[in-house]
Symmetry: C2
Subunit: 284 residues, 2 copies
Amino acid sequence: MASQEVLQAFVQAATQGSFSAAARKLGRSQSTISAAVASLEIDLNLVLFDRSSRKPSLTPAGHVMLQRAEEILAATSRLEMTASQLSQGVEPKLTVAISDTYQSDRFEAALSAFDQRYPDLELECLIAECDDLVALVQSGRAHVAFAEKQDSYPPDLVSSTVEERTEIALFVAREHPLAALDLVDQDVLQQHRELRLATIVNPYESRAKGRVWSAPSYLMLLEMAQGGFGWAPLPRWLVERFGPGTLQELDVRGWPKPVFVDALWSRLHPPGPAGSWLLGKMLE
Amino acid sequence: MASQEVLQAFVQAATQGSFSAAARKLGRSQSTISAAVASLEIDLNLVLFDRSSRKPSLTPAGHVMLQRAEEILAATSRLEMTASQLSQGVEPKLTVAISDTYQSDRFEAALSAFDQRYPDLELECLIAECDDLVALVQSGRAHVAFAEKQDSYPPDLVSSTVEERTEIALFVAREHPLAALDLVDQDVLQQHRELRLATIVNPYESRAKGRVWSAPSYLMLLEMAQGGFGWAPLPRWLVERFGPGTLQELDVRGWPKPVFVDALWSRLHPPGPAGSWLLGKMLE
DNA sequence: ATGAACTATCGCCTTGATCGATGGTTATTG
DNA sequence: CAATAACCATCGATCAAGGCGATAGTTCAT
């Protein structure tokens, strides 16, 4: 079986164009490289180098094998990279839960920086809202969450406000009766069905005052609103991104509301280096 | 450095869920697997298995490392696969030159079968016509070619007709004067510019009788025709695929012409197993 | 409690990676 | 044309790592 040492010798010899140069580069003796290449050629039953001239050059078959060998070395270096990160305590998989209220260039930028910094780390993104986010972090299911700011959190959670805000406004379908009105009064609003966010963990918290349909995600609310089933508070970016032209914003006193975003994590299941790094990027 | 044996031991132990089972599967002793996993854990400075219960189970970190290890083993098995093929004389890269006259389900099917049979073999497709195809095969630049059938070939080439034919018809742009005519006479045709195929190797072979623009590929001819620069003989499938609605077929005596396709290869640079296999698929 | 199946560890052997030294080949240079 | 500088192949010796068998300890089900 082709060992790592042999493959490294081969790859270096091929890229350097000289066995001696490869030996110097790898800190081995020249005879080691020579033997390694020879043994590889025997193992594979192939001639990899044309030795007729002074500088050995790859045969056509050698070119192909070089690619395969480099793939192996790349894979092993990925293994070593991951191992070193894991042994330093980096979480094997980072789970981030985010609210649909939050969508920003900052988050995009943080993610692509994260991709640079931890290229091989698996990332899981969950979407949830309000108390569902809190529950995910509390249970340890998610390491970090970005949620619509609340006044207070359970004692085992730590929060820090992100320097950014978005807007939530009221929307209805273009065909909805409310869409025709210029300014909508609270009383008029109450006469139509509300599409409201309901968390999974706490379904009864929001005791309905009127006719209410609820869903645990803004995206579902948006689809309900597009169906004309009622009016809904929705993040403006979400409407612009997924329902341009289908919804009409309502002009109601007190709306749109600015929304601030908190980063959350747990004292009991604190995020590892990768999670902390991502938090740092988001809060800087 | 993590050796292949150690990685195999780890992967098998992880997938089998037992060191002993892995040992049986790999034909090694149980102590070997145990030692291998232990040494890997030391090398990587990680605990890969949770040994608290009877059957060892992967730690979270172990799960991640298993993925990385499997990537390495997959890469080495690819290396061994290609080595074995190359040592059996399979060409390091297969170069096929095809004419634009030829486009068929059979060729598509042969290519996808080829992808199954030789998944790691590099494939190069060249496009050329007539004498250019002959030259590519003669020089060894291409192993196999599929060309518009000719009456005779140089003595060092072997040909075999593919059981299939396509059609070449005359086309002009919809705005071209000829497009208005129902039936076009040869004399009338001569009064307009011809867009003709000219090979690269033999530019002077086709001494122009009238005003002629020429190009070495049907695709260029098609673009010229779309520009309204003249009339051109073009493979019908090419027009339907790349210029639907822009060109008008001409009704001229003797057109459209059926075209037969020959497979070509060289006696001096005979195709290796992969090329022969592809030929077999195409000619069966 | 007992047996079956599993893992860890120890001593010993074999294989293969490595080194240094030596000798042969190829291109450059004066 | 000879001298020189690089380069590669080969040989014998050394050492680490992979492998085996035996043995002892643990876990789970009966």
